[in-house]
């Protein structure tokens, strides 16, 4: 047994060494635990949270756009979708069979759904059909017990109450394109829409609001377990326009498919009551997605339905420009209201003969008569005396030749030509003959219908530099506040100059010999004043003039004259200004003036109605 005790001693020694080794190894484990759970813990807590917490953005509802009387023009519609959750449906095919009794499913749609079911995780809802109507929603809801895993999901889509009538003002929304990404995570949400044109674009940030977020806990497969935290977003701000919805619709329907533009504005505040460009397009279909064929037909249409002619159409103003020329001449002192010019039907400059629109001429006319009759020879002479620089300067005071800063994208500046411009753009010096042509608003000069309306407003409001605007409130980074109500600053025109021109414009409509007498408004408190304009879009050759100028109705559409009219009402207490441009519409007095009459009458009728109902504003939702 001595040997065994020796063996025992050796064993004990070795066993203690083993125990010691184990103690060391276990200490290593404990040390490692300490390192992971205490020293590095914070880092791992973050990693664990990153694992389990997903941040989901909640898109804010887009702000409504309402008209001046708070009636909705653009709002959000519930968009009902039916979705299927494969995991809950179990037998997807059978559920789809039952569902197809309520919403018809084409074989193609069915294939897409089954493909998605295969590709996605079983708890991810798959859209079966969007834009369900109420009947379908109700029938699905009633049949829920027979449709396991089938749910109705509600989204929001933009809805324009009047589609084409307001499309050029409101614009439309569509999916965000790659280059529009700004880093705002909202923009990266699938299905998120932003304003692409019109008010939707200009006030996009205000209308958009700010997104909320929802923190959800997910498991390793990405399935949402529960919501941890929810931060509600800020819904988009409501934008109130100066547009009168009824008037806008009235004008749009009035113009129909005519290639035309009408702008109606308040002469004192600059509020635009209606801004119509026709033909138009349906923004609701832009929102849903346009087919290739629809798109092709829109862009190939010669009447340019996608162009907002009110701000982007540039036309020679024709005779509607004459009031500005008259004021430039009075300002320079080259004429007085009493100055008479004899019109014999044409005037000569060098070898060139400049014709009046009236063959045979008007005889002797003073300023008021020249405006009333829109005599071209009178204004050739006045323009020659005034010079292009002074005419241009006056034109700019009335808002021509530059953007007016209306809150719509795509506003064109038009063109007020002078010597410097011509040298730069064409490379030859200004000719005196061109001054004469400019005197009757033809030649190089280009204006937009909006500029014509603003000119008229500035004439009618006593010569104040009113600026057009589309919203009742100013949107700035500091917040939203109403525009100040002060009158716009004066253009510095002598009142007697202005009043003689306005008298002429009254006579245009109200004197039996005026060019627009047939289009007068007969209600005494609504009577309008104005100026007609007819713009040639082709050159009339000498041969044609001798054989007799072709009538518009005998010409192809694109060679007919543009018909223009600018006006304001009531003429004794001006409140509204209008410009009407009908492309290739024929004569200003025959085509444009009656349109202006009807619209100004409607404008005043609607205004009277709302004036009476004030201060209790009607709220139509």
């Amino acid at each position: 047994m001595h040997r065994d005790s020796e063996r025992h001693k050796l064993f004990t020694r070795r066993a203690l060494m083993l125990a010691g080794g184990k103690t060391v190894l276990l200490s290593v484990l404990a040390g490692r635990m300490y390192y992971l759970q205490v020293v590095e813990s914070e880092r791992y807590v973050t990693l664990a949270d990153e694992n389990r917490i997903n941040l989901r953005l909640l898109p804010p509802p887009r702000g409504r756009i309402v008209d001046r009387h708070a009636r909705p023009m653009a709002d959000n519609q519930q968009n009902y979708r039916v979705v299927i959750i494969p995991e809950q449906a179990q037998d997807v095919e059978r559920t789809l069979d039952r569902l197809s009794l309520i919403v018809s499913l084409s074989p193609g749609e069915r294939r897409r759904i089954l493909r998605e079911v295969k590709r996605k995780r079983a708890f991810v809802p798959i859209t079966v059909r969007e834009n369900l109507d109420w009947r379908e929603v109700a029938r699905i809801e009633v049949n829920t017990p027979d449709l396991p895993g089938v749910l109705i999901d509600v989204g929001q889509s933009r809805n324009y109450k009047s589609g084409p009538e307001t499309a050029h003002v409101l614009g439309y929304v569509a999916s965000v394109s790659e280059k529009e990404l700004t880093g705002d995570p909202l923009l990266e949400l699938p299905g998120f829409r932003i304003g692409k044109a019109g008010v939707e674009k200009v006030y996009d940030l205000a209308l958009r609001g700010s997104g909320g977020s929802s923190q959800v806990e997910v498991n390793a497969l990405g399935r949402v377990i529960r919501e941890l935290n929810r931060q509600e977003g800020q819904p988009g701000t409501e934008v109130r326009l100066t547009i009168d919805r009824d008037l806008q619709n009235y004008i749009a329907n009035y113009l129909g498919n005519e290639s035309a533009s009408v702008v109606v504005m308040d002469v004192h505040s600059g509020e635009v009551l209606a801004l119509v460009s026709s033909p138009s397009f349906d923004p609701n279909s832009f929102n849903k997605g346009l087919s290739q064929a629809e798109w092709e037909s829109l862009i190939s249409n010669p009447r340019a339905p996608l162009t907002n002619k009110s701000i982007a159409g540039q036309y020679a103003p024709g005779s509607t420009f004459k009031p500005a020329v008259a004021l430039a001449a009075l300002d320079k002192g080259v004429i007085t209201p009493e100055t008479k010019v004899h019109c014999g039907g044409s005037t000569k400059l060098g070898n060139t003969e400049f014709h009046c629109w009236k063959k045979g001429g008007h005889g002797p006319l003073d300023l008021r008569g020249a405006i009333e009759h829109s005599c071209d020879v009178y204004f050739y002479e006045v323009a020659r005396r005034t010079g292009i620089d002074r005419i241009g300067a006056m034109a700019r005071r009335f808002g021509f030749g530059d953007q007016l800063g209306l809150d719509l994208p795509g506003e064109k500046s038009g063109l007020v030509p002078d010597n410097k411009w011509k040298m730069g753009a064409i490379g030859s010096p200004w000719q005196l003959g061109e001054t004469l042509i400019a005197g009757i608003g033809q030649g190089y000069i280009l204006t937009t219908p909006l500029q014509l309306a603003v000119m008229t407003a500035r004439l009618a409001n006593g010569g104040r530099a009113v600026k057009p605007r589309l919203t009742t409130d100013q949107f700035s980074p500091e917040g939203v506040q109403p525009y100040p109500t002060d009158e716009a600053e004066s253009l510095g025109l002598p009142p007697d100059h202005l009043s003689i021109v306005l008298k002429g414009m009254e006579d245009v409509v109200n004197a039996p010999t005026g060019t627009a007498y047939r289009s007068r408004i007969k209600e005494p408190e609504w009577r309008m004043a104005g100026k007609t304009g007819t713009v040639q879009v082709r050159r009339i050759s000498k041969a044609e003039r001798e054989t007799g100028v072709l009538k518009n109705k005998d010409l192809p559409w694109e060679e007919r004259d543009h018909a223009l009219f600018v006006g304001y009402a009531p003429f004794d207490k001006p409140r509204f200004a209008i410009s009407v441009v009908v492309e290739h519409g024929g004569g200003g007095s025959s085509t444009a003036a009656p349109i202006a009459r009807d619209i100004l009458r409607e404008t005043q009728r609607l205004a009277a109605k709302h004036d009476v109902s004030n201060p209790v504003e009607e709220q139509e939702i």
Partner: protein, 385 residues
Amino acid sequence: MYSHDGLLSQPKFSIGQKLLHLHWLYVILLTITASIGFAMLYSAAGGDFDPWASRQMMRFGIGVLGMIVVAITDIRVWLRYAYGFYFIVLALLVAVEVAGFVGMGAQRWISFGIFNVQPSELMKVAMVLALARYFHGGSIEDVGRIFYLVPPLVMVVVPAVLIIRQPDLGTTLMLVLASVAIFFAAGVRMWKFMLAGAVGLISAPVAWFTILRDYQKQRILTFINPETDTLGSGYHIIQSKIALGSGGMFGKGFMQGTQSHLNFLPEKQTDFIFTMLAEEFGLVGGLTLIALYVLLLAYGFIIAMSSRNHFGRLVGIGVTVTFFLYIFINIAMVMGLIPVVGVPLPLVSYGGTAMLTLLFGFGLLLSVHIHRDITIGRRDSGDEF
């Protein structure tokens, strides 16, 4: 004290006396440790005894009864049948090579009607018994002789080769390391271990190209740099470290482990259950479990050292070392210290085979304790029992 000479003075106990002498404190510690496992399995199932906790409790209950039967069986019986048991298990190992069915990508089970047996697990116990018996019969001089070491080396190498071919790296590692510990405790000279170690280092590259399967190589590579493969093999280690680290000092609370309950943690009820414990109960919880293990290990060493027969001492040390290896390999693995080799956490991880192996081993350890005062001669093979 009993005298040291002759069989006449050997103490003899009735079954009742043996039960009285059972190391009850050890049994209680085992039960406490296993109960921590039950709680974790309850949590892993999302607050349900189904499917894991209840079955694990049942197994433990039956296993403890079996353990007590093993414990009160005379140590000399185990000495006597040590080789027989070893060869039966070896035969089973060969059988899985031939007839075993493929499960989990590795042939490990052999079916005996209603339940499957994993011979490699049983081999852990059989090896301890066989080596203990072999060295029990050798004098110090014997152990010093090189040729004396050949038979036990063959006894280790043959099953090790069979198991690594299955392939099961974890079990092979444990088997070899436990055997080394028994060789060491038996008194094999230090320089021989160093020589073996040197040979092992040289042959490691050879093993890399011949024995190791691709997935085993991948595990080792992944271990070296887990971040390179965040969705593949490295995923387990990374998620396990995140779970552990995010548990912090006091943990997230029972059933509140986000990594575990949201399934970021793989195999949370088996190999990675320690991670779940440390996530829910923090450093404090993890160290508590380790402390329990340390107590069990310490008692194991004391039992081994206080036995008056060499067989008992070697069995005691073999069981204790095997137990330690389970603990160390598993915890080191889930903490990213060693590659993922698939070793469960003893008494805590869900699983029948490991539980039965361990309780069998603890039964032997308790038997060593009950029969600590029995002396057995070197040449004595326990034949009288």
